[in-house]
């Protein structure tokens, strides 16, 4: 892995994100895979200090993360925007219990998208999260993303926040197909 100072955050943001999560003492992660999260998923899966779970549907991660906090671990959930729609009722658990929640959501259906079926949920992602009571932050550049996740981790784990960080599709680049 490149040293932090050598990084080009427009490309190397997943590695920087991993360092940011480790610095925030995140010890638990659940995911439904997304191409945009590939590097981060691999880094966390390879880290023996981090417990990880592959999910069948994203709402499972919301309940698991709540349980992890009840047991004393800081958890993060990785998913793509289509998965946000699967989470809505389960989000009542961290919202009502005021349990720290950090979701990193890679966006589809909003920029250079080739699959029209991704567009409806892409359009609904932010509104759906805000409707159930989750705070939404958006990053359009790698530098922004790292700053936003650093402070989102503070707001989640130290201020009992339920926070989703949306990673813009413009930053992710066009899906290779």
């Amino acid at each position: 892995m490149k040293a932090t100072t050598m990084r080009d955050l427009s490309q190397d943001w997943p590695e920087a994100l991993y360092d940011t999560l480790k610095a925030a003492d995140v010890g638990h992660m659940s995911y439904v895979p997304d191409a945009g999260h590939t590097t981060l998923i691999n880094l966390l899966n390879e880290d023996k200090q981090v417990k990880t779970n592959v999910l069948t549907t994203e709402e499972e991660g919301v309940a698991i993360a709540t349980g992890a906090w009840l047991g004393g671990l800081r958890s993060v959930i990785l998913m793509q925007s289509s998965g946000v729609g699967n989470c809505i009722n389960m989000l009542s658990l961290p919202v009502q219990t005021r349990t720290p929640l950090l979701m990193l959501v890679t966006m589809r259906g909003e920029w250079n998208e080739f699959n029209p079926w991704q567009v409806p949920m892409g359009k609904a992602t932010q509104a759906a999260l805000e409707a159930i009571g989750v705070t939404v932050l958006r990053a359009e550049t790698g530098k922004d993303l790292i700053e936003i996740v650093e402070q989102a981790a503070t707001m989640a784990y130290e201020a009992d926040g339920q926070i989703a960080v949306l990673i813009g599709q413009r930053l992710l680049g066009k899906k290779k197909w």
């Binding site: 417990k51 779970n53 069948t56 499972e60 309940a63 709540t66 047991g71 004393g72 671990l73 009542s92």
Partner: protein
């Protein structure tokens, strides 16, 4: 089988286990036995009980976690059979109080009364031990078996009478229950 008698036996033998309850009657049954700091009651988030238990089990590997939930709640978490089996915690036991009905909403028939066997699904998913339990003597045997170390997640289906008993309501303040449970584990409120 009487559900409260079965739950009482399990809780008397819990031996420090952390308990998570699914919304509705399982929460009422556990509360009716004793309202203790190491109970985490769900009042909503249907489909979340077993997975909340998984998160606790992964964070608290030295403690045993017992999820007590209903057939309808577990049916809504069908994917959880796969996720929990793959996660393979050795300290997570799931007890399904199976009355084969959606008891809270008018006693409509559930899938478990129409041929779906949750213990077989857990077994096929890779749970280390699964069983259907039909009377209180078998619950006594289960209580003894639960004290033995497990090689992976276990799931037991308790076939119970479909009756709505007088409710015993746990506190509905979700932050209170969270903080009380975490304090039991020596964790700070926030």
């Amino acid at each position: 089988m009487d559900r409260r008698a079965a739950v009482a036996k399990l809780l008397e033998a819990r031996d420090g286990a952390l308990v998570v309850t699914g919304l509705g009657s399982p929460s009422y049954n556990v509360h009716a036995h004793a309202d203790t700091d190491n109970n985490y009651y769900l009042w909503g988030a249907m489909g979340g009980a077993a997975l909340t238990g998984l998160g606790i089990a992964q964070a608290q590997t030295a403690k045993r976690v017992m999820v007590i939930t209903g057939d309808g709640e577990m049916l809504m978490a069908f994917g959880a059979f796969a996720t929990i089996a793959v996660a393979a915690p050795k300290n997570l036991d799931i007890i399904v109080l199976d009355n084969q009905h959606f008891g809270e909403t008018g006693m409509q028939d559930s899938h478990t009364g129409m041929g779906i066997d949750l213990s077989e699904i857990a077994k096929a998913s890779g749970f280390s031990e699964t069983r259907v339990i039909r009377d209180l003597d078998q619950v006594d045997q289960l209580c003894r078996d639960l004290t033995k170390p497990a090689s992976g997640p276990r799931l037991f289906v308790l076939k119970i009478e479909a009756k709505n008993l007088p409710r015993s309501l746990p506190p509905r303040d979700a932050t209170y229950i969270k903080t009380r449970f975490r304090s039991h584990l020596g964790l700070a409120p926030c």
